[in-house]
Each structure stands twice: as structure tokens, then as C-alpha cells.
């Protein structure tokens, strides 16, 4: 692992920035990140890498304006340059409409601790198993393609108002696509992990073999509405989109499904089925994430003035009612609501739902079981209509059994509508969005949902 001179002392970068800033107030955020990855295709490793970065963001506040300057910084001199740049820019900055008193606080008990880290060795056991899985796949005429990623980011946030906050964030995920040698049958397994201790390449390859077995009998079906089970991964794909649309500012400005016709937001309205709860909680077991606001810049969903505000459990939808939207203090004042900033995890629960995806399959007479979604994009913000594809395994269910694989489909659906129309749900389990989990949002827990009339708009020939 590459070691920088400043390794182990990001706190000094924070203190240095606060010391040298000449602005009215200053916030310094240091992210120390180490990561490692392996990527494979056609039963051989293709690329890999280890990475270490130290990013410093300096936000200088001067009068009614501010300036945010970020950069890679491994030395005090580099931090000085960032601060000078931010101080200079803050002096001539436009007035900020989100200006507010900075949060105050004290020093976290773990402030002095060194950053966490990872290395390529985190894959030691996985890599050995993967090599064996390649051999077995070759022998049994299967092809494996996949990726494992592990990252540890330690954030140090300090302010001239006394904040000294530290958070260690491990993020990891694995995913593997399997195909038959003729490339006519495709399956996928994947998930999130904090430490790779329980990720087993042998089990992963074995699950793919099972799924490819389901796909040996192929059935062509036309575009139509189908009774469809969305597994937790597919539900995560859709709920992340719904969450990202839940900004209070766009709702208040009349630009989202959460806008009340005639003005204002729909907070307080019964939006979906009364059993549904959609929430975030920085302390959710297995999905732990930053318990305070970190905002490098202001946007319609974040404010640099809110840095360091505590984050807690936040219901977005409770008992089917819209309870909160993502707020800054500015939008909270605008909408007359509590300040509920975005949190970096998302949980969907259906009251009373138990059992697993397999139980939903066992209870289905004639329908489809999906694996995951792909290429999801918003078509109409008014209804939150999304389009996308099914990917790597649409399975036919007959009489409670999986009886074959079906062609892929393009679908058009609104996730909020689905939370009204579902007829059955499983218990909530840790999940991983194929579409968004890799790069943007990997901490989700969702149930499987059964939708009686999922809109498969056209057939995709993709295999």
C-alpha cells in the first residue's frame, strides 16, 4: 500500500487549515481513502488496482458569502495553498442564500486516531477461491465476469466553531455475472459488505451455476403486464431513485412528484400503502454511515453551512404517509419543516411482512421472478415514471417453482406507484442495487415485492 508522508496525521491538515485561514470562519474536511479492487472477465483477471488519496476541502466564510476549494493534499504546503485560494475567493463571493450560523461542537473522542485503511490483501482468500472458480467454470463451460471492491474512507471535519468530528466508513461490494459458453444464458449475484470476511467466491460461483441451471430452459414471452416478483436487489434499484428525487427544494418549487399542485410540498399526505416505511438511520446495523452532515458544496439538497449537523434516524415515508424530504436548514425554513438532511443509507420495510424471496416464489402460480434492473432513467418527474431493463435472469415461475428463463424486457414504472400496487412483500434484508450500488449508493436494506401487473413495455433481445 502506498504510504504518504502525512499518513496517520490528517488531523494536522485540518488544524493547519483552520490556523492559517484569515476568513471570518472556516471549515476543513479531510478524507483519507484507501481502496483495492480486482476485476475479471472471460475467466481471467483483467484489471486491478490499489489507490490512496487524501482530499482536503476548505470552506472559507466571509460576510454573506463563502468559497469551497478542494484538492488532493498530502502536505501542509498544499493545504496552505488551498486555504489561500478559498480565503481569496470568499472575499469576493456572491451572497449565499443558504447562509446560517455554523454548527458548534466539541472534539470527538476518537479524533486523534489514525485513519482506517484497506489493502489488496483484503482479497487474499477470495482471490484464491476465485482462481479455483475460474478452473471449474472452464471445465464446466461457464464464463465468469466480475468485480470486487473495498474502500475505507476516514473523514475528519473541523471548524473554527469548535467541531472536530471523525468517521470511518468502510464500503465494499462484490458482483459476478455468469454466462454459458454460447452466451445465450446469463445470471448475476452480488452484494455489499463492510469487510469481505463473509464473501465467499466458491459460494458465489455455485449460486451462479444454480441460476444458469434455471436458465437452461428458455421461454419467449411478449411485452405485457406480468405478475412479477422484484427481489431485494431490484427493489433497491428503484428505491434509490425514489430517494434521490426526494429533495425538499425541487418539491417546493413544483418540480417533482412530491410537489403539491398549487404550491408547497406533499409532506403529510398519504402517498403509498399504509404498511410501507421508508427511512434512513446512520446506526442501522450493517449499514452504518456518517452520523453528521458533510457538505463540500451547496446545492438544492445540501448546504455548506450545515456541515457537522448531527444525523439521526429519519422517516421519509411512515405508515404510507410522506413524513420528510431531504432538507437543508434553508429549505426547512422555506417549507416550514424540521431539518432532515440526506443520510447515506436507505431502508424499506413493509409492516408485518416476513419470509423470503423464495417464499414469494413458492406462493406464485404463474409469473416472473427478476434478478435485477439496469439502465434506469427518469422519464417523467411528475409521476416519477422510470424506464429501465431487466438484466441477467428473468425467471418463469409456475406453480410455485422456477421452470425456466424468459427474455429480457424494457419496463416503464414509477417506484411510488409500485408501493401502492404490491400484493406481497418479504422481510427486509441487506441488499445491493446493481444499478446504483457500485458507484453511488451501496447501503440499502429492502424486501422482495410482488407486483401483480408490472409494465413490461417491450422485449429486449439482450441476453
Amino acid at each position: 500500500m502506498a504510504q504518504s508522508l502525512m499518513r496517520g496525521h490528517p488531523q494536522r491538515l485540518v488544524e493547519h487549515a483552520l490556523d492559517v485561514s484569515t476568513s471570518d470562519q472556516c471549515i476543513a474536511i479531510v478524507n483519507d481513502t484507501t481502496s483495492a479492487n480486482l476485476r475479471w472477465a472471460n475467466n481471467t483477471l483483467t484489471t486491478n488496482g490499489v489507490m490512496h488519496t487524501v482530499d482536503v476541502t476548505v470552506i472559507a466564510f466571509q460576510g454573506a458569502g463563502n468559497s469551497s476549494v478542494s484538492g488532493t493534499a498530502a502536505s501542509l504546503e498544499q493545504v496552505t495553498a488551498l486555504v489561500e485560494s478559498a480565503d481569496r475567493a470568499a472575499l469576493v463571493a456572491d451572497e449565499a442564500e443558504d447562509r446560517a450560523e455554523l454548527a458548534t461542537g466539541t472534539t470527538d473522542s476518537d479524533w486523534d486516531e489514525a485513519p482506517g485503511q484497506t489493502s489488496i490483501q483484503v482479497f487474499e482468500q477470495f482471490a484464491t477461491q476465485l482462481g479455483e472458480a475460474f478452473s471449474q467454470a472452464d471445465a464446466e463451460r461457464r464464463i465468469l465476469y466480475g468485480f470486487v471492491f473495498h474502500e475505507v474512507t476516514t473523514t475528519y471535519l473541523g471548524s473554527s466553531t469548535g467541531l472536530r468530528l471523525r468517521h470511518v466508513q468502510p464500503t465494499g461490494h462484490y458482483g459476478c455475472t455468469g454466462k454459458d459458453a454460447a452466451l445465450t444464458n446469463s445470471a448475476w449475484v452480488g452484494g455489499a459488505t463492510r469487510d469481505f470476511s463473509a464473501v465467499d467466491a466458491t459460494a458465489m460461483a455455485s449460486q451462479l451455476a444454480t441460476r444458469l441451471g434455471w436458465g437452461e430452459r428458455r421461454v419467449e414471452l411478449p411485452a405485457a403486464r406480468y405478475d412479477t416478483i422484484l427481489p431485494p436487489s431490484a427493489v433497491a434499484d428503484l428505491m434509490v431513485d425514489a430517494y434521490w428525487s426526494a429533495g425538499a427544494r425541487t418539491a417546493a418549487d413544483g418540480q417533482s412528484l412530491f410537489s403539491r399542485p398549487g404550491g408547497g410540498t406533499r409532506i403529510g399526505e398519504q402517498l403509498v400503502d399504509a404498511a410501507v416505511r421508508l427511512y434512513s438511520d446512520p446506526a442501522y446495523a450493517g449499514l452504518e454511515c456518517e452520523p453528521f452532515v458533510v457538505a463540500g458544496g451547496s446545492s438544492d439538497r445540501s448546504s455548506v453551512y450545515d456541515n457537522g449537523l448531527p444525523l439521526g434516524p429519519t422517516d421519509w415515508i411512515r405508515e404510507g404517509r410522506l413524513t420528510s424530504l431531504m432538507q437543508t436548514r434553508q429549505t426547512a425554513a422555506l417549507t416550514g419543516q424540521p431539518t432532515t438532511p440526506a443520510v447515506d443509507n436507505l431502508v424499506l420495510e413493509v409492516a408485518g411482512a416476513t419470509g423470503t424471496e423464495a417464499d414469494l416464489v413458492a406462493g406464485m402460480e404463474d409469473g416472473l421472478l427478476l434478478t435485477c434492473m439496469w439502465y434506469i432513467r427518469e422519464v417523467d418527474p411528475q409521476t416519477m415514471l422510470l424506464t429501465g431493463l431487466t438484466r441477467d435472469g428473468v425467471y418463469r415461475v409456475e406453480g410455485g417453482e422456477i421452470t425456466g428463463a424468459v427474455n429480457n424486457f424494457r419496463w416503464n414504472e414509477s417506484p411510488i406507484e409500485l408501493l401502492n400496487r404490491y400484493t406481497q412483500a418479504s422481510g427486509t434484508v441487506p441488499s445491493f442495487s446493481r444499478e446504483w450500488g457500485d458507484d453511488y449508493f451501496s447501503r440499502t436494506a429492502t424486501p422482495a415485492l410482488r407486483i401483480p401487473d408490472f409494465n413490461m413495455s417491450s422485449v429486449s433481445q439482450a441476453l
Binding site: 504518504s4 483483467t46 415514471l385 431493463l389 414504472e413 422485449v459
Partner: protein, 507 residues
């Protein structure tokens, strides 16, 4: 066009020395290839909403990477401390990673040769580096625009933003190449939002000004008429809100380059990336229906279809002097007379396939979006060529009895083998008996790639050709973003399936 020099603050960085140290250290281990890439990428983004600045951020990504081939396997590592000891450590880490990777690498990595480019420099074409313009001047311009738009009838809100990038790279390898480059690009966004009080329907209308590899001079108005576009946006929005909802069915389409570039990007650009066709992206971005065995035979579209790949178009977002493997920028045919004849390559793929595709050489499509990421095959500027004698857009519209004229991009989605796609747009105009009859709402077009391009009856002339593009093309694991341009003329398509998106969303 001013002939720009490499930014002296980049030239002052110790990249040559660190490169020498890292490459020498890698050589000690008997690597068959080693390259060193040092990058400083500067970004500035700001956004405005109505009459206020929403936020502004400056960011800089600085660091370097070493990539080696040892025992037939890749090893890659990166670092950020600009010291010789760190350069040695990063080189050693890359070697360690290659040793671990060799256990799982079953086909040895080999690279196509490339002539040595010793001590060369390249700078993209621009006049004024936008990062040299005071932020207050830039926000003042955009705030003047949004305030003015906010005052127009029917506009509830106006938003704007500008992303600006200065990318500096130094590449050196054990073969002796040493290349220093600088690129400038920017992406403006202006949008108005409104509501129809009688129905509660809301909508927006965005400028079709494309992102470009140009400087601040872009806003002077000679290259894109921002004044005319801004003046038109409120009425376009009002008309759209009052427009009838489309009847789903089959229509002829005339598609403007401001929409067609994205369809080209998704259904041709990605589909002719050879790494996708070979399965390297199967677990993420996907594969391609345009498999290598169909080279020279796949009927991609009608004979009106001539598509090129290039990294040389002036102001193109994928334009460079040399790629991230030290390969000189080139241009080539991808589809000729409707038939697949080429792919996008990097040096590893060119080792196996380059003999047939490009005289044994890569065509220069390797790119990494940051010093911490490994270079992969990324998209060239992939462009649909106009018909030298082709008509203007009105000439194409005049051939349509019942159809839709599509302007500006909005929603986009395509499957993992690049067959089935669905696109919306900013502006859909009804065509009746060869003339435009006002806007339609709720339109999406859906097709399969080869059917769609097969239905292209005609392309417009050079007078209709425009460069569109994007900053946010995503690919690879870990994810990387790239900027790319796509040129297109207006074009006429027959019998395309049109959906009504409101009907699609109702259960």
C-alpha cells in the same frame, strides 16, 4: 485561434523526475512494460437558481499512477504525495499487485507496439481558459440570464449551472515516450420550469447548447446563439405545457443533432467498443450485439449510414493529441454504407485484433478519468457523417406526411447488449404534410438499434451537422466518467414506435 501553452503551474510540478524514478524502479523487477501517468485535473462548478447563487466549488485532482506488466499480468497503483520515495513505493506496489494478479491471469497481457513519442506536447483549441475568468464574472452572466428568464410569462423558476475542466496529463513509458498535454472543456446548463395552473402539470425546457472543448469565448455568441436560445425558451415552455398529448403509435421522425447525438452515443458509440464486444464489461456496462465475428458483414443500418470514430475533431470532447497509453490520436471508419467495419481499441486489444482493424496498431481510445484510475478503452468522438449533397432540416421535414420533429435530449436508456432503447427529448413538434404544426407532449421513441438505423432513409447535408456531447459517460469498475462528442446531421427515420409516457405510467 490562440495557440496556447501548457499551464506553467503544471510545468512546475515534478512529474518528469517522479516518472524517471518510478519507471527505473519498475525496470528493476524485470517488467515487460511500465508506464507512468501524472495528472492534475482542475474543476470548477457553480449553480444558480432564480436570482441567487446556489453553490460554487473548486476542486483539483492531483496524483500519479504506475502501471506494469509483469509475468503476463497487469499491476496498477497510484499515489498522491509528490516525492521520489512515494514514486518508488507506488512502483513497488504496482509490482506486488501484478504478482498477486498473475495467479488469476490465465492469458498473458501483451500490447500492440506504438512509435515512440519523445518529449511532445499538445494543447486543445481554445481562446480563454474559463478557470482564468473570475468566478464573479461567470456567476454574474448566468444570474443575469436566470433573472431575465424568471421575469418571462409562464416561467416559475429558472436554473443554470456551468462545469469547467482543465485537464493536464504527463505520460511516460519505458519505451521512451514522454507526452505532456492540456485540455479545456465546459458544459453550460440553462433551464426554465413552469406549471399549467388548470391541470397542475409541470414541465421544463432546457437549452440545447452542447458541452464543448472550448474556452470562455463560447459565451460570446459566435459559436452558439445563447441570446436567441434564451429568448425562445419561455415560449417553448408555454407551448409545451399547452400542447396535446401524443397518440401512441408509429410515426416518421426527423431528428435534430441535439437529440440524435445521444442515440448515436448509446446505440453505436458503446456498441462498437471492442472491449464490450469481447465481454470485458459484461458484469457492468454490458456487452454488444455487434460481435467481432460480424466485422465486415453486420448490416448496422441503411446505406445512408457512414459513422466515423476520431480523437482529432477540433473542439471534440474526446479529442486529444495522444491517448493514455501514448498512442497518437487518429480517425477511422466504424460503419460504412451501413456495414460494421471498425471498432474502438486500446493497445492490449490491438495486439490481438489490430492487424485486421488498424495495421497492427491501437487507434488510441485509452483513457483514465483520474490519476487514481487505470486506463481503459473509452469512447472516441463517434459521429454520423452528413450527405455532402444532402438537404437542410426543412428539406427532410418536407418529406414527412405524418411525423414528429425531435429536438434536444432528455431521458435515455438502452439495454446491456445495445439492442433496445428508449429516448425522450426537450421538444417534439408534430409534422403534418411536410410542415411543423406545434409541439406535442409525453413523447418517447423506442426501437431496436439495427431496426432504427435500418429505417434511416436520409441524412441532411453538411449545413445541418452539429457536435453534441456529454461530460458524464460512465463505464468500468471502479466507475470512471468520460467526456465525448458526437457529430450528426439532421436525419429522417421511417416508422418508429412512439409511446405516450403518461399512458406508460398509468396502471
Amino acid at each position: 485561434m490562440a495557440s496556447n501553452q501548457i499551464d506553467p503551474t503544471f510545468l512546475a510540478l515534478p512529474y518528469e523526475r517522479l516518472g524517471q524514478v518510478a519507471l527505473e524502479r519498475a525496470r528493476d523487477f524485470g517488467v515487460t512494460h511500465a508506464d507512468f501517468r501524472f495528472e492534475r485535473n482542475r474543476y470548477q462548478h457553480f449553480s444558480v437558481r432564480d436570482d441567487a447563487l446556489e453553490g460554487a466549488q473548486d476542486a483539483e485532482d492531483l496524483g500519479f499512477a504506475v502501471r506494469v506488466v509483469l509475468d503476463g499480468a497487469w499491476g496498477f497503483a497510484s499515489g498522491v504525495a509528490l516525492s521520489e520515495s512515494e514514486a518508488v513505493t507506488v512502483a513497488e506496489t504496482a509490482v506486488t499487485v501484478a504478482q498477486i494478479a498473475a495467479r488469476m491471469t490465465r492469458r498473458p497481457v501483451q500490447l500492440a507496439p506504438e512509435p515512440v513519442h519523445r518529449d511532445v506536447t499538445w494543447v486543445s483549441a481554445y481562446e480563454v481558459n474559463p478557470l482564468d475568468v473570475p468566478l464573479a464574472d461567470k456567476t454574474a452572466l448566468f444570474l443575469r440570464w436566470t433573472k431575465e428568464l424568471l421575469g418571462a410569462e409562464g416561467v416559475d423558476h429558472a436554473t443554470g449551472s456551468l462545469q469547467q475542466v482543465q485537464e493536464n496529463k504527463y505520460y511516460a513509458d519505458l519505451g521512451g515516450s514522454a507526452i505532456t498535454q492540456q485540455r479545456i472543456r465546459l458544459e453550460p446548463h440553462i433551464e426554465v420550469h413552469g406549471t399549467d395552473a388548470s391541470t397542475g402539470a409541470f414541465d421544463s425546457m432546457r437549452t440545447i447548447a452542447p458541452p464543448v472543448a472550448r474556452g470562455w469565448e463560447y459565451f460570446a455568441g459566435d459559436m452558439f446563439d445563447f441570446d436567441a436560445e434564451r429568448a425562445a425558451l419561455p415560449e417553448l415552455l408555454r407551448e409545451k405545457l399547452a400542447a396535446p398529448s401524443v397518440h401512441a403509435g408509429v410515426y416518421d421522425l426527423v431528428i435534430h443533432p441535439s437529440n440524435l447525438w445521444l442515440t448515436i452515443h448509446e446505440s453505436i458509440g458503446h456498441a462498437t467498443e471492442l472491449d464490450r464486444a469481447l465481454g470485458y464489461e459484461a458484469n457492468y456496462a454490458g456487452t454488444s450485439f455487434a460481435t467481432y465475428d460480424q466485422l465486415g458483414s453486420l448490416a448496422y443500418g441503411s446505406t445512408a449510414m457512414h459513422v466515423t470514430g476520431d480523437r482529432t475533431s477540433e473542439h471534440g470532447l474526446a479529442t486529444v493529441g495522444y491517448d493514455d497509453e501514448g498512442v497518437e490520436a487518429q480517425s477511422w471508419d466504424i460503419i460504412r454504407n451501413g456495414v460494421l467495419v471498425g471498432y474502438q481499441l486500446d493497445r492490449e486489444m490491438a495486439h490481438t485484433y489490430g492487424a485486421e482493424l488498424n495495421d497492427g496498431r491501437s487507434n488510441g481510445c485509452s483513457y483514465a478519468d483520474s490519476p487514481g484510475h487505470i486506463p481503459i478503452q473509452r469512447m472516441a468522438n463517434v459521429s454520423l457523417q452528413p450527405d455532402p449533397d444532402g438537404p437542410d432540416t426543412d428539406g427532410l421535414i418536407s418529406r414527412v406526411e405524418r411525423g414528429i420533429y425531435v429536438v434536444g435530449d432528455r431521458s435515455w436508456s438502452i439495454d446491456m447488449q445495445r439492442y433496445n432503447f428508449q429516448f425522450t427529448g426537450q421538444r417534439f413538434f408534430r409534422i403534418e404534410d411536410g410542415t411543423i404544426k406545434g409541439q406535442l407532449r409525453d413523447v418517447a421513441y423506442q426501437a431496436t438499434t439495427t431496426d432504427f438505423w435500418g429505417s434511416m432513409e436520409a441524412v441532411g447535408g453538411p449545413q445541418t451537422y452539429e457536435l453534441g456531447g456529454a461530460f458524464n459517460c460512465g463505464k468500468a469498475q471502479p466507475g470512471q466518467v468520460a467526456s465525448v462528442s458526437h457529430g450528426a446531421p439532421s436525419a429522417l427515420f421511417r416508422d418508429i414506435r412512439i409511446l405516450n409516457t403518461t399512458e406508460e405510467g398509468s396502471s
